[in-house]
C-alpha cells in the first residue's frame, strides 16, 4: 500500500516537472517572439544608403543568375556548364567549371603526353627508315662506319 502511494507521488512529481518544463518553454518562446517582433520592426527602418546598397547587391546577384542561365541556354543544352568537358555529363562539366586550375592542369598534361607520343613515334619511324636504307644498300653496313671509306669516297 505504501509502495503504491510512493509510486503515485513520484508520478505526480514527474507530471509537475513536465508541466514546469512546458511552461518554461512557452515563456521562452513568448519572449523570443516579442524580441523578434521588435527586431523585425527595426529592419523596416534602414538608412537610405543601406537600402540602396542591398538593392544593388540583389540586382548583381539576379543579373548573375540571368547571365548564367542565358549562357546555359545559348550552349544548346549540350554544354550546360559552359565547358567542353560538359559533354561527359552535366555534373562533370560543372566540376571542371568550378575547378578551373584542375582543368588547366589536365589540358597541359594532355598536351605534354601528346607531344611526347608524337616525338616517340617520329624517332621510331626514323630508325625504321635508316635500317631499311642500310639493308637495301649495295654496300655492307660496316662500310658506313669506316672513316677511311668515307674519306676515299670524298676524294673520288
Amino acid at each position: 500500500m505504501n509502495m503504491h502511494k510512493d509510486n503515485m507521488k513520484n508520478e505526480k512529481n514527474i507530471n509537475l516537472m513536465d508541466d514546469n518544463a512546458a511552461s518554461n518553454l512557452m515563456v521562452e518562446e513568448q519572449i523570443a517572439r516579442n524580441i523578434v517582433e521588435l527586431l523585425n520592426n527595426r529592419t523596416q527602418h534602414l538608412s537610405m544608403a543601406e537600402e540602396q546598397r542591398l538593392s544593388v547587391a540583389r540586382n548583381l546577384a539576379v543579373n548573375r543568375l540571368a547571365g548564367l542561365q542565358a549562357q546555359a541556354a545559348g550552349d544548346g543544352g549540350i554544354n550546360q556548364g559552359g565547358h567542353v568537358l560538359s559533354w561527359f555529363g552535366r555534373h562533370v562539366g560543372q566540376y571542371f567549371e568550378q575547378h578551373r586550375v584542375m582543368s588547366a592542369a589536365l589540358v597541359v598534361i594532355a598536351m605534354l603526353l601528346t607531344f611526347f607520343a608524337v616525338q616517340q613515334f617520329g624517332f621510331n619511324n626514323n630508325l625504321e627508315n635508316s635500317d631499311a636504307f642500310l639493308l637495301a644498300s649495295d654496300l655492307p653496313p660496316e662500310a658506313y662506319a669506316d672513316k677511311g671509306f668515307v674519306a676515299w669516297l670524298d676524294t673520288n
Binding site: 511552461s23 518554461n24 515563456v27 521562452e28 518562446e29 513568448q30 519572449i31 523570443a32 517572439r33 516579442n34 524580441i35 523578434v36 521588435l38 527586431l39 523585425n40 520592426n41 527595426r42 529592419t43 523596416q44 534602414l46 543601406e50 546598397r53 542591398l54 544593388v56 547587391a57 540583389r58 548583381l60 546577384a61 539576379v62 543579373n63 548573375r64 543568375l65 540571368a66 548564367l68 542561365q69
Partner: protein, 196 residues
C-alpha cells in the same frame, strides 16, 4: 531551376533581416553589407539551378559560412596587428579579441532606464544580441527570427538538435536578463523566466 524573378523576390524578402543579423554578428555595418552581397552572389552562382524552395536554407548556410570566413580573416589580421604593435610598443589592448569566443557582458548602467521608449528598447535588444556568444546568437536568429525548426537549425549550425535547444534557451535567458535590467514589464514579458 529557380528563375531570376524568384531569386529577386527571395532576396528582397530576406535581405534586410540578413543585413541586420550580420551586423549584429560582425558589429560593422559596412562589413555586414559586403558579407550579405557575397552571400547573395554565391547563392546565384553556385545554387541558381536549385529550386527556389531550397533558397532559405542554402542562403542561411552561405551567410553563416561567409561570416565565419570574415571572422577568420579578422583573427589573422588582428594577430598581425598585435605582433606589429608589440614591436612598436603601442598598447593594443582589445584588438586581439576573438569574436568566436564568449563575449563578456558589459555594464550598461549608464543607459536611461526610467522611460524606455520603443526605439531605445530595440537598441537595447540589438546590443544584447551583439553581446551574445556567437553560437547562441546564431541559434536564436535561425530558430526564432528565421523561423526554422530545430532540425533545420541544427543542420545549418552543424550540431545536434539538443545543442540547438540549449543554445536557444541560453540565448533567450541572456536576452531576458539583459532586458530586465532596463525594465522588462515595458516589453510585456513574463517574469516567470527568472523564477527558474
Amino acid at each position: 531551376m529557380a528563375t531570376p524573378k524568384e531569386l529577386s523576390d527571395f532576396l528582397a524578402a530576406v535581405e534586410r533581416r540578413a543585413f541586420k543579423q550580420t551586423a549584429y554578428a560582425v558589429r560593422d555595418d559596412h562589413a555586414a553589407l559586403d558579407i550579405v552581397q557575397d552571400a547573395m552572389m554565391k547563392l546565384a552562382e553556385k545554387y541558381g539551378d536549385h529550386p527556389a524552395g531550397e533558397f532559405p536554407m542554402l542562403f542561411q548556410r552561405i551567410l553563416q559560412n561567409t561570416m565565419r570566413d570574415f571572422w577568420r580573416r579578422q583573427k589573422v589580421r588582428n594577430l598581425w596587428t598585435t605582433l606589429l604593435s608589440s614591436f612598436g610598443g603601442n598598447d593594443a589592448e582589445g584588438e586581439d579579441r576573438d569574436p568566436l569566443e564568449t563575449i563578456d557582458v558589459e555594464d550598461d548602467s549608464d543607459e536611461p532606464s526610467a522611460q524606455l521608449a520603443r526605439s531605445q528598447t530595440i537598441q537595447l535588444i540589438e546590443r544584447a544580441l551583439e553581446k551574445l556568444p556567437a553560437r547562441q546568437r546564431e541559434a536564436f536568429v535561425l530558430r526564432y527570427w528565421e523561423e526554422m525548426d530545430v532540425a533545420e537549425t541544427a543542420e545549418i549550425m552543424g550540431c545536434s538538435d539538443g545543442s540547438v535547444k540549449t543554445h536557444c534557451s541560453r540565448a533567450v535567458h541572456a536576452l531576458a536578463i539583459e532586458l530586465k535590467k532596463q525594465g522588462l514589464d515595458k516589453l510585456g514579458l513574463s517574469n516567470a523566466i527568472f523564477s527558474k
